[in-house]
């Protein structure tokens, strides 16, 4: 399931809903992203997440669908916020539930890596030096590239 919203979310409640009644689930891997106070050394007082609504939902759904095809998932969830957020606020939550933990962990990492490089969100940080758009990180590209399939079965 995919949700793009301005409001905060409750990780515990979301997980309970996700796994409720499905006793084939042996484990859930979860990642929660938070606003840090010190990207690049200049104090961050807040950030604004801009996004491209029509494309965001479409891309997140595609990424989730890809994860479901690659791993035997019993349930999955991506929640991403937009709008103004302050240090310590939750930005994103990704969860993948499977019979075994390896599939859950891998799918969760995959979802985060692809979300980071494909979902159309942009961070505008309010710093000591004024507002500035955050640059994409090479390490995120490298992390996403781990999951690109080669050869005739390639998904892209």
């Amino acid at each position: 399931m995919i949700r793009v919203q301005q409001e905060d979310f409750d990780v515990g409640k979301e997980l309970a809903k996700l796994t409720e009644g499905n006793q084939a689930i042996g484990g859930v891997a979860v990642f929660v992203g938070l606003v840090r106070d010190m990207a690049g050394g200049s104090g961050i007082s807040a950030m604004t997440l801009e996004h491209y609504p029509a494309m965001t939902e479409k891309m997140l759904s595609e990424i989730e669908e890809e994860a479901k095809q690659r791993w035997p998932l019993e349930a999955s969830l991506v929640i991403h916020r937009y709008g103004r957020l302050e240090p310590g606020d939750q930005i994103v939550m990704v969860a993948a539930a499977s019979a075994h933990r390896q599939a859950a962990f891998e799918a969760c990492e995959f979802l985060m890596d692809w979300l980071k490089t494909k979902a159309p969100f942009w961070k505008l940080e309010e710093t000591d030096q004024g507002a500035q758009w955050v640059d994409a990180r090479d390490s995120d590209d490298a992390a996403a590239a781990r999951w690109v399939k080669r050869g005739p079965d390639a998904a892209e």
Partner: protein, 83 residues
């Protein structure tokens, strides 16, 4: 054709969205970017680093050679930084 600009492409062009009718001969994503670049200093500046620009046609990532038409929604934005 509807154009959308996000993040610093919005800041630099001064536009969030606009409707344009490019001349005949502007048939691909790459040709569209070249035409936009010639529309004035703001656009020349915004589009100068072609490697830093991502394009989506109808909400799907597109390459320079991909075709575009009058009914398409074309979005220009920098590499994404969510998550």
């Amino acid at each position: 054709m509807k154009l959308l600009y996000f993040a610093w492409l919005k800041t630099k062009t001064g536009l969030a969205e606009e409707n344009v009718t490019p001349p005949a001969g502007v048939a691909t994503v790459g040709q569209l970017l070249s035409w936009l670049e010639g529309r004035g200093p703001n656009f020349a500046d915004a589009l100068s680093d072609r490697g830093a620009i991502r394009v989506a046609v109808n909400q799907a990532y597109a390459k320079p050679g991909d075709p575009i038409g009058p009914d398409d929604e074309v979005a220009l934005f920098p590499p994404v930084t969510g998550g």
